[in-house]
């Protein structure tokens, strides 16, 4: 296999990049200055070497503890529990959440061989237990799939036993959408979760 084919194959392993786009990227790099290619290689190398999970929440960080956990302005009584570090970024982008995070590293899925012991649930419990009552609310932000829902139910049971208030992200109609195009299941959940005006 030629070097061009090898790099093309590596690019095409990335999400959202098909073989044709991968080839285009390779040829773009070959047309660019050698420094541009080296910069990309150095950045990828550093990414792999330096990014690790935060020792407290499991979010991606270059240090031992992530910037969110270190920020003294964050509300330490509320923890948003997400499946992956990618979702931390999604919640952060809203600018509406001032608490801390906990990254589970997946969701319960026996069919994929993922049980409670494969997730960072013990670490979450430790935060709830050892924080001297500091964690008062856990917002369960696992995905609204059957597995995400089961994970939330599992967490609810064990967190409530620790005296933590447990809430779940609301579900309903996406902002800017049209009722006509909303699927039945989403609409049913929006109806069930309606609130007083």
């Amino acid at each position: 296999m030629s070097l061009i084919d090898e790099v093309t194959r590596e690019f095409s392993r990335l999400p959202g990049i098909g073989p044709r786009t991968a080839r285009r990227l390779v040829h773009h790099l070959l047309r660019s200055s050698p420094e541009e290619g080296r910069r990309l290689a150095r950045a990828l190398d550093s990414l792999v070497d330096r990014i690790r999970p935060c020792r407290i929440c499991g979010n991606h960080t270059e240090e031992e503890t992530c910037a969110v956990c270190l920020d003294p302005k964050r509300d330490r009584s509320t923890v948003c529990v997400v499946e992956s570090a990618f979702e931390v970024e999604s919640v952060e982008r809203t600018g509406q959440f001032q608490g801390l995070y906990h990254v589970l590293g997946g969701r319960l899925s026996p069919l994929d061989g993922v049980g409670p012991e494969d997730l960072r649930i013990e670490e979450l419990l430790r935060r709830a237990r050892d924080g001297d009552g500091e964690v008062r609310e856990a917002i369960l932000a696992t995905n609204p799939s059957v597995e995400g829902e089961a994970t939330a139910v599992y967490l609810e049971t064990i967190l409530r036993a620790e005296g933590v208030r447990v809430t779940r992200l609301a579900r309903g109609i996406p902002v800017g959408s049209d009722l006509e195009y909303v699927d039945g299941s989403t609409l049913a959940q929006a109806l069930a979760g309606r609130r007083e005006m």
Partner: protein
């Protein structure tokens, strides 16, 4: 190549590329069918609603014999079973039933088996919590029967002697496929079942879970060992621990 339309149950799905998924759907005509579902991950963005594990789906696919992976062209959710995720025993139970079917690598269809699974999932979803353990155990045994592994409860699986229904304790040998008479059971491994437990097992196999089933955890262990022996998956059933955890708290409640 033919275009086929069927209704089935989504047993498993995993991402394939940014927008596609490989799904395994239990169909009445072709058993557990692996399908490439292009663009399935974009359904929500297009406002078509998501599709989830255990959903009842209507599918259209192109079938080419000799291919490992068929191509899905249309999918509609007929009935969402997302509610299974709102209770641990219901969720883990549904997962265990799906594991049985996936372990068997069912390549031929069976309308009766599909119907059994469909009914079991609906019961798991709808029945009151206290009935869920019985529903799950009964469904588990019934699926094994449909797959061709009915345990023998009327005669000794070693010597063939008719068994006395009132005999105090009889050995259940999962490996040999059922109950052993008192003479044959002495040196065998396996749980010893009294007349009450044997009657409960008969009811579960008949699809009539006894009211107030006692020893749900013992019956779960029996079902697990029997399924492990006969379906022989390449690893233990992952859902069992979660069912056990859930049943522990259900029984406690």
């Amino acid at each position: 190549m033919s275009t086929v339309q069927e209704e089935g149950i989504l047993l498993r799905s995993h991402p394939y590329s940014e927008s596609s998924r490989v799904v395994r759907i239990l169909t009445p005509e072709r058993g557990v069918l692996p399908l490439m579902a292009r663009g399935l991950r974009r359904r929500v963005e297009k406002g078509e609603g998501g599709v989830d594990t255990f959903d009842q789906v209507r599918i259209v696919y192109t079938f080419r014999s000799g291919r490992d992976l068929q191509t899905l062209t249309e999918l509609d959710v007929v009935r969402s079973r997302q509610g299974l995720g709102r209770d641990l025993v219901r969720f883990a139970g549904a997962s265990l039933l799906a594991e049985f079917l996936l372990a068997h690598a069912l390549e031929e269809g069976s309308p009766a088996l599909s119907q059994e699974m469909e009914g079991a999932l609906d019961l798991l979803l709808d029945r009151p919590l206290e009935q869920v353990p019985g529903v799950l155990l009964s469904a588990g045994w019934r699926l094994l029967v449909h797959l061709g592994f009915a345990p023998e409860l009327g005669r000794c699986v070693r010597c063939g002697a008719e068994l006395d229904e009132e005999a105090p304790l009889l050995r259940f040998s999962a490996g040999q496929g059922g109950l052993l008479c008192q003479g044959c059971g002495g040196d065998s491994a396996g749980s010893r079942l009294g007349p009450g437990a044997r009657n409960d097992l008969r009811s579960l196999l008949a699809g009539r879970p006894p009211e107030g089933l006692r020893g749900a955890l013992v019956h779960l262990a029996l079902l697990e060992v029997f399924a492990l022996n006969h379906l022989a998956p390449n690893r233990p059933f992952q859902s069992v621990a979660l069912v056990r955890a859930g049943l522990g708290s259900t029984v406690a409640r």
